[in-house]
Symmetry: C2
Subunit: 92 residues, 2 copies
């Protein structure tokens, strides 16, 4: 599954810890946006738990957007950047 | 059509102008993330043109993610925030 994770985290230490978690699950495409191209349901739930444990829920925010294969294929970008990294969905 | 627009813009004036454009098309859900729930193809192209005219393409970045109705419905969030605003897709 492909998930887009966007965040606003005010505290520098909390943001650093959240980015550290996210780097284990996806690719940073903007300062506060990660693309996580290949998550199982289990890994998504695990990632969310880890991120929830880091932030201050009264000031910070995470948004998790699921994109199906067709939606990912329609992604566009301007300026610097790369197309989304999509690992092939071959089921072995 | 539902589009998610994420941006990293270094210059304050350019960022201000980009946000001003985006406010005409969608809702700001995070500092650098807008949800544009009800764009026609024509309005999306028009918005992209306006935003492309604002940024420095060698330093700044926009990412435009299309989400179909099923993908939008799977959006989750932690901390502060609201579910995505989705105007009904009734075709009149």
């Amino acid at each position: 599954m492909f998930f887009l994770v966007c965040f606003d985290i005010s505290d520098d230490k909390k943001r650093y810890r959240a980015v550290k978690v996210l780097k284990a699950y996806g690719v940073r495409v903007q300062k506060s946006v990660f693309e996580c191209p290949n998550l199982t349901e289990h890994r998504f739930v695990r990632m969310k738990e880890q991120l929830d444990a880091v932030i201050d829920h009264s000031t910070d925010t995470f948004r998790f957007y699921f994109l199906c294969r067709e939606c990912v294929a329609r992604t566009e970008f301007s300026g610097i950047g790369e197309p989304p990294v999509t690992v092939s969905y071959r089921i072995i």
